[in-house]
Amino acid sequence: MSTTRDRILRVLGDIVPELEPSELKPGVNLRDQLDLDSMDFLNFMIALHKEFGVDVPEAEYRKLLTLDGCVQYIEAEKPAG
């Protein structure tokens, strides 16, 4: 069964096709590592919403700037079940 981290990486891979998950530093800003602009980041948030049913308010985007941050946020906010 896929972990939350795997599912997030899959979602991110759709936004950044050249993503190499093994090379991603989990504690480093995704926008800097992957050269994401604001449109990419919004598309990432939309894709996370579709995947996990979590609607991230714009004011909380900063909590999802790293892979670790994304995992932590999604784990805490995703609907039970």
């Binding site: 991230v56 308010p57 714009e58």
Partner: protein, 396 residues
């Protein structure tokens, strides 16, 4: 009958690869339908037909060879009365001369051009500037297809022919990235050689706009949120209505304003390089509509599926490096456009409002203008209008 020719999909394009036909011989084509896919040095582009008719005969099969701009690719019959009164550059279809009006030709010069090689043995018709430049570059005018009125060779045709000549070294570009660099190099070198730029900058208070955007996005579902850049595009488009001299092309020694406002938005491509496809009629669209169009454009730009009308239509370019931390940028105009607008990063600065010093978020907006077409005074009026429009985000 008309020839469908390799289109010129940007000032930096001298040749392209025919990747695929989207229509078969005998098939009817409506205006606006995709007829073929062409790969430029930058990206693959879906080429639309700007006439209605029938694809009679394919002259070139898809392949790896680079086909010079203007080369006939297919024969079409064009339905009578379907040659459009276009505003923006169009896909290359060499149509009957009588059907073309002068304004149509002028408007079309920003992109795909109707190439007409000089008749054999005849002295090529060329503008004095084109003759001088051809002499400087050692180019035989008789070998240059003319795109001006009655096949007249223009300065741009000569520059085009020069850039289409094989570079001495390296003989063949190795990769897409390298080819893109060459294409950008050609366009930017041409810009700096031909366009006397002037540069202006202004600082704009963004606090009202940011507060408005934050509130608007709080009320929206995630898939309908707006990004900051879309508001900037709309404000630029509205400011151009007030100073239209900045919106259009420099063609054959004069400025040709475009009534339609199609800002090209610079989109960086993964792995390097950039494209600047058009957001059509940005001044007339709602923010929601612009946002949807911008999102779609970014996706397709990176997937390599832009349409020819998007790459040839831009009447001005907007670029921003704010997301990469740059506070101000002074861009190089993309020929034959007349101006480029640049935005930097929003930063917090001391600001005086109503006689008091306070901290405000501000950005630096810049204008690169073609001094042949406008003076700094008009450019200043544009930046003033832009700053004013950004203080009323609810009206954008």
């Amino acid at each position: 009958m008309a020839e469908f020719r390799m289109p010129k999909l940007g000032a930096d394009m001298s040749a392209g690869k025919l990747v695929a036909w989207r229509k078969k011989p005998g098939e009817r084509i409506e205006r606006g339908e995709i007829i073929a896919v062409v790969e430029t040095d930058k990206t693959a582009i879906e080429v639309e037909s700007f006439v209605t008719g029938v694809l009679e005969k394919v002259l070139v099969e898809p392949g790896d060879s680079r086909i010079p701009v203007g080369t006939p690719l297919a024969i079409m019959t064009v339905e009578a009365g379907t040659l459009p009164p276009i505003e923006a550059p169009r896909t290359e279809v060499a149509a009957p001369r009588a059907a073309e009006s002068a304004p149509l030709r002028a408007a079309a010069r920003g992109g795909p051009e109707v190439a007409r090689p000089a008749p054999e043995g005849a002295r090529a018709k060329a503008s004095p500037a084109a003759r001088r430049r051809a002499l400087e570059l050692g180019i035989q005018l008789g070998t240059v297809p003319g795109t001006g009125p009655e096949g007249r060779i223009t300065l741009e045709d000569v520059e085009q022919a020069a850039s289409a000549r094989p570079a001495p070294a390296p003989a063949a570009p190795e990769s897409r990235q390298q080819r893109m660099r060459y294409a950008i190099a050609a366009a930017m070198a041409r810009s700096k050689r031909e366009i006397p730029h002037y540069y202006l900058a202004t600082t704009i208070d963004m606090s009202r706009l940011e507060t408005w955007l934050e509130t608007a996005n709080r009320e929206r579902p995630i898939a309908e949120r707006l990004v900051y850049g879309v508001l900037l595009v709309k404000a630029v488009a509205l400011a151009l209505r007030e100073v239209p001299e900045l919106n259009g092309f420099w063609i054959e020694g004069r400025a040709a304003q475009s009534e339609a406002i199609h800002p090209g938005v610079a989109i960086s491509l993964r792995g390097g390089g950039l494209v600047a496809p058009a957001l059509h009629d940005a001044d007339r669209r709602t923010l929601d509509d612009l946002m949807a169009a911008f999102s779609d454009l970014v996706k397709r730009a990176r997937a390599g599926s832009l349409k020819s009308s998007e790459v040839t239509a831009p009447t001005i370019t907007i670029t921003s490096l704010g997301e990469r931390g740059v506070e101000s940028l002074f861009g190089i105009i993309y020929p034959p456009q007349l101006a480029l607008v640049g935005f930097g990063k929003p930063v917090e600065r001391p600001w005086v409002a109503e006689g008091r010093v306070c901290a405000r978020r501000v950005i630096t907006a810049t204008l690169s203008g073609d001094h042949r077409a406008t003076d700094g005074h008009r450019g200043a009026l544009f930046l003033d209008a832009l700053g004013r429009l950004l203080q009323e985000p609810e009206k954008l």
